[in-house]
Amino acid sequence: KLGHPSELPPEPVPDYEGDEEFLRRVHHVLLEVEVLEGALRCPDSGRRFPISRGVPNMLLTEDEP
C-alpha cells in the first residue's frame, strides 16, 4: 500500500518466477523505491512502525512483549 502506482497484485501469482513483468515491478518496489516518511504495518497485529528519514523504527515499547 504505497500510494504509488506500482500495480502489484495483493499476492504473488503462481509461477511468479517466470513472470518478467511482475518481477520487474517487484524489483522496482523493493530496490528502487525508498520510503522516506511513512510507516510499516504488521499484517498480524496491525502495529505501526514509523519510518523517519528513510529509517524504520522497529523498537518495541516497554509494555509490548
Binding site: 525508498e34 504488521c42 497485529s45 512502525f49 528519514r53 529509517v55 522497529m58 523498537l59 518495541l60 512483549p65
Partner: protein
C-alpha cells in the same frame, strides 16, 4: 645503479597527449619515461590488519593475479606487479598502507655494538638500488595528483584528527609529528623518530591510545571528508614545475623496529639512516612536509627498506561520520570476505554502529542485499549519513539518475529482530566490547541472547556468521550454550585499536530454530 650525489630529479618538460595528463602540477614525467616506468616490476609491500594477511593475499591474487608472500612481520604482505597496475593496487580493499620495496634483507646480521650496527645501516644507503623504486614512487605521485584534482579539498585540521582517534590504527605516522615536534626541534636532521616501536606492534602511536578516550557521541558529529590524499599540508612535491629549476625533494625516515636483540632503538636507526639518505641524495629533511617517506622496517633479522606510496591510511575511506568505535574499513572487508558472500545472499549487521561493515559490504558485494540495524538513534543517524555520503560519491560521476546502493538501515533491538526465521544468509557484526561501549557484565547477558537471535534469523545449514569481539571469554561461554545452532569454523586473532580481539567464523547447523510465537 644508484642515483648519484645529485639529489634533484630532472625536471622534464610536460608533454601534451600523455594519457589523462592534467593541467598544472602534473608529475613532470614525459610519456616515454612514464611508459618505461610503467613496465617496471615493482615489489609492493602492503600493511593489512594483523590476522588478515591470508585474506589480503587472496584479494591480491584475485584482483592482480599476483601471489603474495606473507611476512613474519605481522600485518604485512609482499607481492610483485608491473608498475602500471598501481591504480588497481590502490583499489585493494584489504590494505591499509602501501610501499614500494627498495630492498629486502631476509637475514641481516646486526653488529652487537651499537655504533657499529648504526654505522652499517648508514653505509647501506649508498648501496641500495634506489632508482627503480624512485621511478615507481614518481609514477605513483602522478596518480595521486589526478585523484586530488577530482576530489574536494580535505580540510582536516590536526586538532580534529587527534580527536578522532578511536583506536583505529592510523597508518600514517604523520600524526605523531605534532607531538614530537618539540623533541626534534634541536635536531637539524629532523628525521622522524617516532613510529618506531620497540615492541611488537604494528605502526601506531602509543601516545594516542584511543581506548581510554570516549568521544561524546552527542556533540561530536565530526564530519570528515576522507578522500585519497589530504590537502591539509602543502605538498612540497607539487612543485615539479618543469620550468627549469627542479625543487629539492623533502623527505623523512620512519623506522619500525621489533625484536629483542638489537643494540639500538628505532629512533637512533631512523636518525642515522636519515642522515645517510640526506647525504646521499642531498634532499632536505622535513618531518611534516615531505615528498618522500623512506621506511626502514626491522623485524628481528628481517630488514626492509621501502618508500611509502600512501600517505594516509586507506582504512577510513567509507566513513565520513565517526563514532567512538568505528571499525576500519579494511577490517570490515576482511570480515566480510571470510564469510564468502555469494550473489543474492542476504547479509545482516544487527549491531551496525556507524555502518562500517554494511557500507563496505554494499560497495564490494553489490549483488548481495545488505541490511544494517542498531538500537541507538545516534548510531543509526550516523550510519544513514555515511550511506548518504556514499550515494553522493556515486552520484558525482556522469550518471544522470542517482545510483542506489543495495543497503537499508533500520532501528531495532538485537534481541528482537523483525526478520523472518531462517531468512538471512550471513550475519556479520562487531560485537560490543565491554571496555568501550556497555560493560562486561552487560555482555554476559547480551552475548547469549544475541547468538540465539542471530541463530534464529540465519538459514540452517548454509548460513554463517562472522563476529568480532574483544570479550573472548564471554563469547566462548555464550557459544558453548548455543552449540546446537552454531559451530565454530575458524578464529582469526586481530588487533583493534591496541586491543587483542578475535574474529569468529561460525556456521549455522542444520537444526531449525523454534518458530517464535511472539510479536513478530
Amino acid at each position: 645503479s644508484v642515483v648519484g650525489g645529485c639529489g634533484r630529479l630532472p625536471a622534464l618538460p610536460r608533454q601534451p597527449g600523455m594519457a589523462e595528463a592534467e593541467a598544472a602540477g602534473d608529475s613532470g614525467l614525459g610519456p616515454a619515461a612514464a611508459q618505461e616506468s610503467a613496465e617496471l616490476a615493482a615489489v609492493i609491500g602492503a600493511t593489512v590488519p594483523t590476522g588478515f594477511e591470508q585474506t589480503a593475499a587472496e584479494e591480491v591474487q584475485e584482483k592482480l593475479g599476483s601471489a603474495s608472500r606473507i611476512s613474519k612481520d605481522r600485518g604485512k604482505i609482499y607481492f610483485e606487479v608491473p608498475a602500471r597496475s598501481l591504480p588497481q593496487v590502490h583499489r585493494l580493499r584489504s590494505v591499509d598502507n602501501l610501499f614500494v620495496v627498495v630492498q629486502e634483507f631476509k637475514d641481516y646480521q646486526f653488529k652487537e655494538n651499537k655504533e657499529d650496527a648504526l654505522k652499517d645501516l648508514e653505509n647501506l644507503v649508498k648501496k641500495l638500488p634506489w632508482t627503480d623504486s624512485l621511478k615507481v614512487w614518481e609514477l605513483n605521485n602522478s596518480l595521486k595528483k589526478k585523484k586530488t584534482k577530482r576530489k574536494k579539498h580535505n580540510l582536516q585540521s590536526p586538532a580534529s584528527r587527534e580527536k578522532l582517534s578511536d583506536g583505529g590504527e592510523e597508518g600514517g605516522a604523520d600524526q605523531n609529528n605534532t607531538n614530537d615536534q618539540e623533541n626534534c626541534a634541536q635536531n637539524p636532521m629532523a628525521v622522524e623518530p617516532t613510529g618506531g616501536q620497540d615492541t611488537e606492534k604494528p605502526q601506531g602511536a602509543t601516545s594516542r591510545n584511543g581506548v581510554e578516550e570516549e568521544e561524546d557521541s552527542e556533540q561530536s558529529d565530526v564530519k570528515v571528508e576522507v578522500q585519497a590524499s589530504s590537502e591539509s599540508r602543502t605538498k612540497a612535491g607539487d612543485g615539479q614545475t618543469g620550468e627549469g629549476e627542479a625543487k629539492v625533494l623533502r623527505f623523512r625516515v620512519t623506522c619500525n623496529r621489533a625484536g629483542d636483540k638489537h643494540s639500538f632503538t628505532s629512533n637512533e636507526a631512523a636518525r642515522d639512516f636519515g642522515g645517510a639518505v640526506q647525504e646521499h641524495f642531498q634532499w632536505k629533511a622535513d618531518m611534516t612536509n615531505f615528498d618522500v617517506e623512506v621506511l626502514l622496517n626491522i623485524h628481528n633479522n628481517e630488514v626492509v627498506v621501502g618508500i611509502a606510496l600512501t600517505e594516509e591510511s586507506l582504512h577510513r575511506r567509507n566513513i565520513t561520520h565517526f563514532g567512538p568505535t568505528t571499525l576500519r574499513s579494511t577490517l570490515a572487508y576482511g570480515m566480510l570476505r571470510l564469510c564468502d558472500p555469494q550473489p543474492t545472499d542476504i547479509i545482516v549487521d544487527p549491531m551496525c554502529g556507524t555502518g562500517a561493515i554494511p557500507i563496505e559490504g554494499a560497495a564490494e558485494w553489490p549483488y548481495c542485499y545488505h541490511i544494517a540495524g542498531d538500537n541507538s538513534p545516534q548510531a543509526v543517524k550516523r550510519a544513514a549519513n555515511n550511506i548518504c555520503s556514499l550515494l553522493r560519491k556515486n552520484e558525482s560521476k556522469d550518471s544522470s539518475t542517482a545510483q542506489g546502493v543495495p543497503l537499508d538501515i533500520l532501528q531495532w533491538d538485537i534481541c528482537s529482530l523483525p526478520l523472518r526465521t531462517g531468512s538471512v544468509d550471513i550475519v556479520v557484526t562487531d560485537m560490543p566490547f565491554g571496555k568501550r561501549i556497555g560493560s562486561k557484565k552487560k555482555n554476559w547477558d547480551l552475548y547469549p541472547a544475541c547468538l540465539m537471535e542471530m541463530g534464529r534469523i540465519c538459514t540452517p545449514g548454509t548460513g554463517r556468521a562472522v563476529l568480532l569481539t574483544q570479550d573472548k571469554k564471554c563469547f566462548a561461554k555464550a557459544l558453548s550454550r548455543v552449540g546446537h545452532i552454531w559451530r565454530r569454523a575458524q578464529t582469526v586473532w586481530v588487533n583493534v585499536g591496541g586491543l587483542h580481539a578475535a574474529v569468529y567464523l561460525l556456521r549455522r547447523t542444520w537444526e531449525r530454530a523454534e518458530e517464535r510465537r511472539s510479536f513478530w
